[in-house]
Symmetry: C2
């Protein structure tokens, strides 16, 4: 089997409106976030399979021959892999020497990698030596879809190495995407990776089927802030439920209003896709402010998020929490005419609060194949150094 180098990337994900309301049957607007996870797959002739995950300080390698014995006797067709092979998971766990209860990020990422790697190559009965290095711009465990981006990259790179999907032709900008059918296959395998990482994903918004992932979003510049205040999605979701039970007549209209915010936002975004105007940005800002207040009403605000809103509003920028709240992350909308000095000031002031802050965008492209020359220099250097 001839394996060639490949570099892929996948975006993160942010909830624009509807977090928490989605748990109560309302719409949520999830959008792609252009903080990306990059994965480089390199063939090697050391007879080893190596994974480097510098973000989570994980650098491991195994002999492919020892992994070979874990392969199922009969490999399914790649396209039929809808369910996890529940025999393989414990075999992989015991292979890397972690017991059942252990679910830390590093362990789960390694398990997901080994699962997709062994399964994708199972049919060929020959596991190739290769090195997978992953670098993510996304903070881990911040509700920004870092595990989904990781799983998507794993699936795209390994399926591509296996020859199950083509190597897409790069366009002018040396990035390329796959056909609809190939995307479907990537999605199937990425979903299995996600299932391994999250187990039964209760308490996460991802488990809600009503959420709407909006791809057709115009590219909008934002600041993404991580307050780094730890929070439990499960506890926050339960708190909202308690509030609704305590004050149903007060809270149910708030969920209704949040739903209307999501709808109005979606409508505004689709208008902006054809002809964005300053008034559209006014509406987006107003909806952000409204929903931030609503999220405070349902009890998922936090002083750190109030601070973010206050600091950015001081520079004329509008912010809201994104995701579970109670700390965690916030987004700040930038307008097309927001000057770079305002942006730099905002980033500095937010960082002065002790938060992480990135200038990025939403409505970013999905999974992509990169030629090395199309890569940001610093990311390439980072991957090369591994």
């Amino acid at each position: 089997m001839h394996i060639t180098e490949c570099i892929v990337s996948a975006p993160g994900k942010a909830i624009l409106h509807g977090e928490h309301a989605v748990v109560h049957g309302k719409v949520a607007l999830a959008v792609s976030l252009n903080l990306r996870t990059f994965l480089r797959l390199l063939p090697n002739c050391t007879g080893k399979v190596c994974i480097n995950l510098p973000n989570i300080h994980t650098f491991l390698s195994w002999d492919v021959t020892s992994l070979q014995s874990l392969l199922p006797d009969q490999a399914d067709d790649l396209k039929n892999a809808k369910e996890l092979d529940m025999d393989l998971v414990p075999r992989l766990r015991s292979f890397i020497g972690v017991t059942d209860g252990i679910t830390d990020t590093s362990t789960m990422a390694v398990l997901a990698f080994l699962y997709v790697y062994t399964s994708v190559f199972a049919e060929s009965r020959e596991l190739p030596g290769l090195t997978v290095s992953v670098w993510s711009e996304l903070p881990t465990g911040a509700g920004l879809g870092s595990s989904a981006a990781f799983s998507v990259c794993l699936a795209a790179a390994l399926l591509s190495a296996r020859g199950a999907i083509t190597r897409p032709q790069a366009g002018l900008e040396h990035t390329a995407r796959w056909s609809e059918e190939e995307m479907q296959l990537i999605n199937t395998w990425a979903f299995l990776g996600e299932k391994i990482i999250h187990g039964n994903p209760s308490g996460t918004f991802e488990s809600q089927t009503d959420s709407v992932f909006v791809w057709l979003v115009p590219m909008l510049r934002i600041l993404l802030t991580n307050t780094k205040v730890p929070r439990s999605t499960k506890v926050l979701v339960a708190g909202v439920k308690d509030k609704i039970n305590k004050f149903p007549a007060v809270m149910n209209p708030v969920l209704e209003s949040i739903d209307a915010v999501s709808c109005k936002c979606q409508q505004t975004l689709s208008e902006m896709a054809t002809e964005p105007t300053p008034e559209h940005y006014d509406v987006l800002e107003e909806l952000i402010d409204i929903n931030q207040h609503h999220l405070n009403v349902i009890g998922v605000g936090h002083p750190s998020l109030d601070r973010l809103c206050q600091v950015t509003l001081g520079l004329g920028l509008h912010s809201k929490l994104t995701g579970a709240g109670g700390g965690g992350c916030g987004i700040t909308l930038l307008r097309p005419d927001t000057s770079s000095s305002v942006i730099q000031n905002a980033i500095q002031e937010v960082k002065d609060c002790g938060y992480d802050c990135w200038e990025t965008s939403i409505g970013a492209p999905g999974v992509q194949h990169h030629s090395p020359s199309s890569m940001k220099e610093e990311v390439l250097q980072l991957l090369n150094s591994l």
Copy 2:
């Protein structure tokens, strides 16, 4: 006619929940506020009628004989005075030498006084010499009902001087109130005073007939803060209307939720009237927080009010705007177990923001007759010095 000294007082008024929503057909909870207006009426034998309004720097006197000529030929029965005498008002205006367009606080207060004074004594065809001195703890024009309290005091004192209502028997605490029928007469005349002061009161919440004035409120301790940020009720009311028209699906549920907050608050207050518990205070605090967010959503918040909420929350106290918003006043609930050091710290920190702040209560008694010995020393001194 024998006129005896009398001292009366009337409370201010604060909206606990439902400001603005009341304009859109929802309930508002108005409660009495124990920042009071005190009025002392003294007979004199100088043949002059004098009014001293130190809060608004107004000290005027007139010969009763010159006023006598303004009296209507035929005086109505005092109890039938439902409408303003539209001939008397311009006669009084020209008597004190102010033209039609002039509506400043001082002019309107003097007109209201002269109107009630001349009308109440019209039937007797003999205007007595007397001195009316008024001191109010209420800030003027802050939406706290200072003009209503003034009008109520005027009506009670002048009707009492005229002998149209009795001098009530003072109870243990040397304050007393009148019979139901007498209260009705005071109310009738106070309403005429209000009509003069406010003209056609459009754009004020007072003009809304749906508002519920809740008398049966347990006495609750509060801080009353005046941010002193000037605002126009009319502009704020119009802004809310615009927002509702712009985002009806988002805003209408918010009004509904505010309505539910008012109802839940009223229910909680009536439970507290029989047996108040700490949990009742928890609910009141939660409702305050929720409604403050809602008022921000409908666009009547202000950074000065955010500041008030933030500062008091730092001491575990919950605040919301009261009245029109956009600056103006805020209330902060004090619990029975809030220590005096916390209260003193809160007052100091609020004052450090540049605001006025008073410790007072809501659910205060209405119009009262006082014996001088029942009066706060500083108020009595103040009235005596005039």
